[in-house]
């Protein structure tokens, strides 16, 4: 089984900790001049998203996690699973609600997402940073209010609700930053 020594630790490295796949966020080398060296790492559990601190004696080895990040195309959701396809080899993977998490509200068929596979199965899904989605429901636009000013909630075709300027109409397509959930611009059809 593959393993990593603490001197290979760097941010982004995927390791197994207590049977769970984790990603190293930060690695700090702590050593007294004439004493034992340690690596203090900040780790994210890739299944739960929880962040924790862990300390290793320098030189110790830790099991590598079979985790790969792949770009996959979102196909469809069947109510229980969200189905993705690797556009290079047409292999499909089904992610459950846990793995999809908050990404579900941005997923539109054909869009390319980063899917994290652990032992071949999806454990997390990251939507594209920017998505262009149609507004399926919002209050009617207010005449004469095209300048800066207020916002109103708008429901997008994927179910997400974002704040848009008052002049945006139902049926229009808008560009949204999925990391912040913020409206960026109107997209001309």
């Amino acid at each position: 089984m593959a393993s990593y020594s603490t001197n290979e630790f760097r941010s982004g490295l995927k390791i197994m900790l207590d049977g769970e796949p984790c990603s190293i966020i930060e690695n700090e080398f702590v050593k007294p001049g004439k004493g034992q060296a340690f690596n203090r790492v900040k780790i994210r559990n890739l299944k739960t998203g929880r962040v924790l601190d862990k300390t290793f004696k320098s030189g110790d080895s830790v099991e590598a996690a079979d985790v790969v990040d792949t770009q996959m195309q979102f196909l469809y959701a069947d109510g229980e699973f969200w189905h993705f396809m690797d556009p290079d080899n047409y292999e499909q993977a089904a992610a459950d609600a846990n793995a999809v998490g908050d990404a579900r509200q941005w997923l539109k068929a054909q869009d390319s997402c980063e899917v994290t596979l652990y032992n071949g199965s999806p454990i997390s899904v990251t939507p594209p940073n920017f998505v262009e989605l149609e507004i399926t429901d919002t209050d009617p636009g207010l005449r004469g209010d095209t300048a800066q000013g207020g916002t109103k909630p708008a429901t997008l075709e994927t179910g997400a609700v974002v704040k848009v300027p008052l002049f945006i109409e139902q049926g229009e397509v808008v560009k949204v930053d999925t990391r912040t959930g913020e409206y960026l611009s109107r997209v001309k059809k």
Binding site: N7, E28, Q36, L52, T55, K57
Partner: protein, 311 residues
């Protein structure tokens, strides 16, 4: 733009200033500036101090982890106080506070003990800081009692490991007594330390090249200086007993073998020098890169190194 220095012009000038003042300081106090080789056929066998080996004519020589051994040979020959500013190397040490190649000020004061040397360091740092500095002092034993409420001489290894596991999330089942103390000092106590603080009278098991304290063989006449929990300097009343030094080297080599590492040839030149007679003295090493970090309030060693190594 990797060809450019990692240190800013401000850092380069500050380094030049403190080097100039260090030389003036020691010159005024009658210390001789010396220059010893960085590459030598033997090295420190201490398991916790990694050397960088370099092939030289079919043999391995070592970039020195500090100029200590050569300077002690010199001391035995000239018998007067000496100082040196040089680079040193520690293999495997890379991080926010660590660089494989770093700068040291190392000096030996004939006739001093570690307490007098602590006073001299206070004076040196105050001089280099261009302002009044406060220095705290606490014994290693008292430090653990104050911060963790434990008596490090009395505590059982099992209890110490449990304490480590509670205070630091780590697998401590294979850590020895001293590794547990290193862990607690580095992860729990140091982050709470403020300002300049000397920690003195280290446990004898962590004596390195310090002599046992007169009247209390449980501790060594060794100190370290911290600033906001960052280790800046280490000093001893120097061990002058050649037989005891040989015993410590052999013990270090046995620890290397147990850890699956090759033994190092003993530095017989150093042992012969101790045999011939090292004057009673105290010596210290001060990390100049870390001192620059403190003086300039910079939090990464890479920003004070002229050219930081690429990862």
């Amino acid at each position: 733009m990797t060809w450019q220095p990692s240190a800013s012009p401000r850092v380069l000038h500050e380094r030049a200033r403190i080097y100039r003042q260090i030389r003036e300081f020691f010159d005024a106090r009658g210390c001789l500036e010396v220059d010893t080789p960085l590459l030598m056929p033997t090295t420190n066998p201490d398991l916790q101090v990694g050397s960088v080996g370099v092939p030289v004519g079919g043999r391995t020589h070592y970039l020195q982890t500090s100029p200590e051994f050569a300077m002690k040979r010199l001391l035995a020959a000239v018998g007067e106080s000496i100082f040196q500013i040089c680079h040193s190397f520690r293999s495997g040490e890379v991080g926010r506070l660590h660089a494989l190649e770093f700068s040291l000020l190392e000096w030996y004061r004939v006739g001093y003990d570690y307490r007098q040397l602590m006073l001299e360091i206070e004076l040196l740092i105050t001089t280099l800081s261009l302002k009044r500095c406060e220095f705290g002092r606490i014994s290693y034993h008292e430090l653990f009692s104050q911060h963790l409420g434990i008596d490090i001489d009395a505590i059982e290894l099992g209890e110490l490991r449990r304490l480590c596991a509670v205070r630091v999330d780590a697998d401590t089942s294979r850590l020895g007594h001293d590794a547990c103390l290193d862990l607690l000092l580095g992860m729990v106590i140091a982050p709470q330390m403020q300002g300049y603080q000397f920690v003195y009278d280290y446990p004898i098991a962590q004596a390195a090249l310090a002599r046992p304290r007169a009247g209390d063989a449980r501790v060594a006449e060794r100190f370290e200086l911290f600033h906001d929990g960052i280790e800046l300097a280490n000093g001893f009343s120097e061990l002058t007993d050649a037989a005891e030094q040989r015993t410590r080297f052999e013990r270090d080599n046995r620890a290397r073998v147990l850890a699956g590492l090759a033994e190092y040839p003993l530095d017989e030149d150093l042992l012969a020098a101790l045999e011939a007679g090292l004057p009673d003295c105290a010596g210290a090493a001060l990390g100049l890169d870390r001192l620059l970090m403190v003086l300039l309030d910079i939090d990464s060693i890479d920003a004070v190194l002229t050219f930081a190594a690429d990862d």
